[in-house]
């Protein structure tokens, strides 16, 4: 079958489904097609949607594909849905950030890093399914260890945990050179 119709089949599936569809899932459904062709078709679709200025983009989140509205149109969509969407408090965001970057992590570790009790906010995030219990730590007290969930990746539009914005490594005690990342002035270019 031609690549063009495969692309259109995948497009239909993605349109109809209300959850992100992974390549694995698509391969199961479209068993008569080669996996490599599926991947190629998906890549092409992503590119086409990105290039043409449609109101829809094909996002790759949490290892799966989903049609999402263009972020620039958020205001208009909010007029339609009349919902404000999720709004996070600073404490919830801090806690999520720590757990996202440090997972697997215990509550005590989160609290040490934040310097405040975080039980309430962690419970709330667990209820929102943004966190998950990954097991328990083999130390006295066997505290539960936490990580972020698939829903976390979907909410923040991340394809996986490696897609988190990179953090600068913690600098050692030595004061950093404040001009280190400042490029040298192109003096010669000016003269020329």
């Amino acid at each position: 079958m031609s690549g063009k119709s495969l692309k259109s089949i995948i497009e239909s599936l993605l349109f109809v489904h209300d959850q992100p569809l992974s390549l694995d899932r698509l391969a199961l459904i479209l068993e008569e097609f080669e996996r490599a062709d599926l991947r190629a078709a998906l890549d092409e679709l992503v590119e086409e949607y990105a290039a043409s200025e449609r109101g829809i983009v094909l996002s790759y989140v949490a290892g799966a594909y989903q049609f999402r509205s263009r972020p620039e149109h958020a205001d208009y969509i909010r007029r339609l849905t009349k919902s404000k969407g999720v709004k996070f408090s600073q404490s919830a965001l801090e806690t999520l950030a720590i757990i996202a970057y440090r997972q697997p992590v215990t509550r005590a570790e989160v609290e040490y890093l934040r310097g405040v009790d975080s039980g309430g906010v962690m419970k709330s995030l667990l209820e929102k399914k943004l966190l998950r219990i990954m097991g328990k730590k083999d130390v006295p007290g066997k505290p539960l260890i936490y990580g972020t969930s698939r829903e976390f990746l979907e909410l923040f539009g991340l394809k996986d945990l490696n897609a988190l914005p990179t953090l600068k490594d913690i600098q050692e005690l030595a004061p950093p050179d404040p001009f280190a990342d400042q490029p040298a002035l192109p003096l010669e270019a000016v003269e020329a």
């Binding site: 209300d18 399914k129 988190l164 004061p175």
Partner: protein, 276 residues
């Protein structure tokens, strides 16, 4: 070009949170920024004084001071006193670390995660900046229990578990097995089943091949999940099957507040209510 450079620097330095600190580390970072001092060389006496002044202010406002703020005050005073002591020759040889080092590391690390949380918040959030299609499939709606399900009493849950035990105990042999699964592990398993299937029948969590230990651990996990209010246990008809579902999502905005570090803005405190 140059104006770009400057505006970026300005953005950085003016992003301060006033009077709403997430905790002692947040307050300290604010003081360091306000005083324009070098984080690697904190004038500990001045910062400690301002920190304690801030705590005084909290007291005057009759606000409860969270324990974490007191711990940090004690830490600051300890660092201050250690810096006043002359360094003994032995200490000099052992190259004792700057008493402030541990605090600076914590502050920097905290700042790093605080910045990361800003980055996260700037992403295109599903349901806020980007939207996906969603609809309720009619097939799924049919599967859902039609009647308003009733909450299950603990007693009924125990009865159901007794029935499970009765079902398997007759032909259970004494098996010597390696360390069984812990409740915490089982909680994780039960939760992942629930995440995948949304609604799970109580009985289906107890399959026939399970050892008595595992049955008990499973039951205790369910009780623990109820206690944590992470799941909802319901029954469509009396004496019918018992169903487990993930607890309803909390109302929007629940993530605001509910945090002990947020001591400054708490106008709805109990003292003020009674005074009015």
């Amino acid at each position: 070009m140059q104006s770009n450079l400057f505006s970026e620097a300005l953005d950085q330095s003016y992003r301060v949170q006033i009077e709403e600190f997430e905790g002692p580390l947040d307050l300290l970072l604010h003081l360091i920024k306000k005083n324009e001092v070098d984080i690697y060389n904190i004038p500990i006496a001045a910062i400690t004084r301002q920190y304690l002044e801030y705590m005084e202010l909290l007291k005057e406002l009759n606000l409860d001071i969270a324990g974490e703020f007191l711990v940090m005050a004690a830490t600051l005073l300890q660092i201050k006193s250690r810096m006043l002591l002359p360094i003994t020759p032995e200490e000099e040889e052992a190259e004792v670390e700057d008493p402030r080092a541990e605090l600076v590391r914590r502050l920097l690390e905290y700042q790093r995660y605080r910045d990361a949380s800003q980055l996260l918040s700037c992403r295109n959030l599903l349901g806020r900046d980007v939207f996906a299609r969603k609809f309720d499939s009619p097939e799924l709606a049919e599967l859902e229990p039609k009647e308003e399900p009733a909450d299950v009493e603990l007693f009924e849950l125990i009865e159901a578990f007794q029935r499970v035990l009765a079902r398997v105990s007759i032909d259970t042999f004494h098996d010597v097995v390696a360390d069984g699964i812990s409740i915490a592990d089982r909680i994780g398993e039960v939760l992942s089943v629930l995440h995948a299937e949304k609604t799970v029948c109580f009985d289906s969590l107890f399959s026939d091949g399970m050892t008595r230990d595992l049955l008990v651990v499973t039951f205790l996990s369910i009780l623990e999940l109820c206690k944590l209010k992470l799941i909802k246990v319901t029954q469509v008809e009396s004496l019918g099957s018992i169903w487990l579902t993930l607890a309803a999502q909390p109302e929007e905005g629940e993530l605001q507040g509910g945090e002990t570090g947020n001591v400054v803005h708490d106008p709805a405190g109990p003292e003020e209510d009674s005074g009015a």
